[in-house]
């Protein structure tokens, strides 16, 4: 697994309090990992902080799974 994926996974595990093996490619933050809409806002902020990027609101709306997040961050950074 890439460095980006590891770092994203670490943030997701910390913020949502879920087991690491639940954070799979297609795992949806809301449907599978127990996040609510505020949790997803905070996750996006944490990604911005960790990778020094800015994720615009319309792009953030499309980041719904772990895989979406890794893909976006790889393209943005």
């Amino acid at each position: 697994m890439s460095d980006v994926a590891d770092r994203v996974k670490k943030i997701v595990v910390e913020h949502l309090g879920v087991e690491e093996d639940k954070v799979t490619e297609n795992a949806s933050f809301i449907d599978d990992l127990g996040a609510d809409s505020l949790d997803t806002v905070e996750l996006v902020m944490a990604f911005e902080e960790e990778f020094g990027i800015e994720i615009p609101d319309d792009a953030a709306e499309n980041i719904q799974t772990f895989g979406d997040a890794v893909k976006f961050i790889k393209e943005a950074s």
Binding site: E14, L16, G17, L38, E42, M45, E48, E49
Partner: protein, 419 residues
Amino acid sequence: MRRVVVTGLGLVTPLACGVEETWKRLLAGQSGADTIKQFDASHLATDYACEVKHGDGTDGTFNADDWMLPKERRKVDDFILYGIAAAEQAVQDAGWKPEDREGQIRTGVMIGSGIGGLNSIAETAVLIKERGPRRVSPFFIPGALINLISGQVSIKYGFKGPNHAVVTACSTGAHAIGDAARLIQWGDADVMIAGGAESSISEIGIAGFNACKALSTQHKDDPKNASRPYDANRDGFVMGEGAGVVVLEEYEHAVARGAKIYAEVLGYGLSGDAYHITAPAEDGDGAYRAMEAALNRAGVKPAEVDYINAHGTSTMADTIELAAVERLLGDAAANATMSSTKSCTGHLLGAAGAIEAIFSILAIRDQVAPPTINLDDPAVESQLDLAPNAKRERKIDVVLSNSFGFGGTNASLCMGKLR
């Protein structure tokens, strides 16, 4: 009017986490004061307070993990954490966990706070200044709002009745219990989870009260002697933190389910000073009228009052309350005991009225009045027994618990042994 009884208690105080652990230390006359640990306060005029002692949960310490998951905890200010912990204790103690819809919609929550998420607000203001508005957490507002203890508790247990929160500075806890009792009396609910919580021991909180000249400043070397209500050498209050929550229940509802009943809420009185933003009216008229109204509602004569848990903050205002109580009781003052438990716990602001109502209830249960510690040289002579430096075992069937707040807001609760 429907009768209201107390069927559950919960405490997080500077003396201990837990009702019995706190009560034991209070009766022994222990002080919760010490040099402030949660931040460096050495540059402030006051560097001591009565902080909640965090630990692994043994020996009365407060273990945050026992009450909230770490991932949930970081989304709320500490006053919400303390409120949830005290509410959990009270609900467990009462054994009230309604599973059906009717039970849920007949159960409400009214837990207030004097100031709320002061520390979160201060930290977020600094964050915006340093890093801009995009770094503000989506949990900042719901983690700082005063009514979010009531909100969180309702979500946790499915309590779908009245959901409310009181904000009346240092009268908050007493007003919450009194107002919640009235909701039960009027039939808006059968059970109410009521009380107050506070966590304002922070740089902004201490500096703010220092600026009001309200805090003790002369006991850096001996903080345990700093809170000394009625003593000639008192020099201001010592800030405390924590929470007190009770379960109030309609009498027949409690009897029908075989609940343990601690005491009955007999009366509740409210008044306003209309005098000054921080100082109480010097004639004690507001305090007098709140107590008088509570006794009238209760149908209790002044001479029947056995114990008064005073507001007694260790400020100049102590003697104003003392004179008002003497005026209310008349010659019967010689037969009553009044103590200020703030001498041990410090002043928990919005939680004070709630923890002190609980101490008053325990005084009825155990027939013992907690002491006023550090009362070595009384500022004035009084007919009242102020229980200086030692608990008082005595008959206690009827109690008054007083709370007075900035803005001239006064509340008095009259509670009694179940008759």
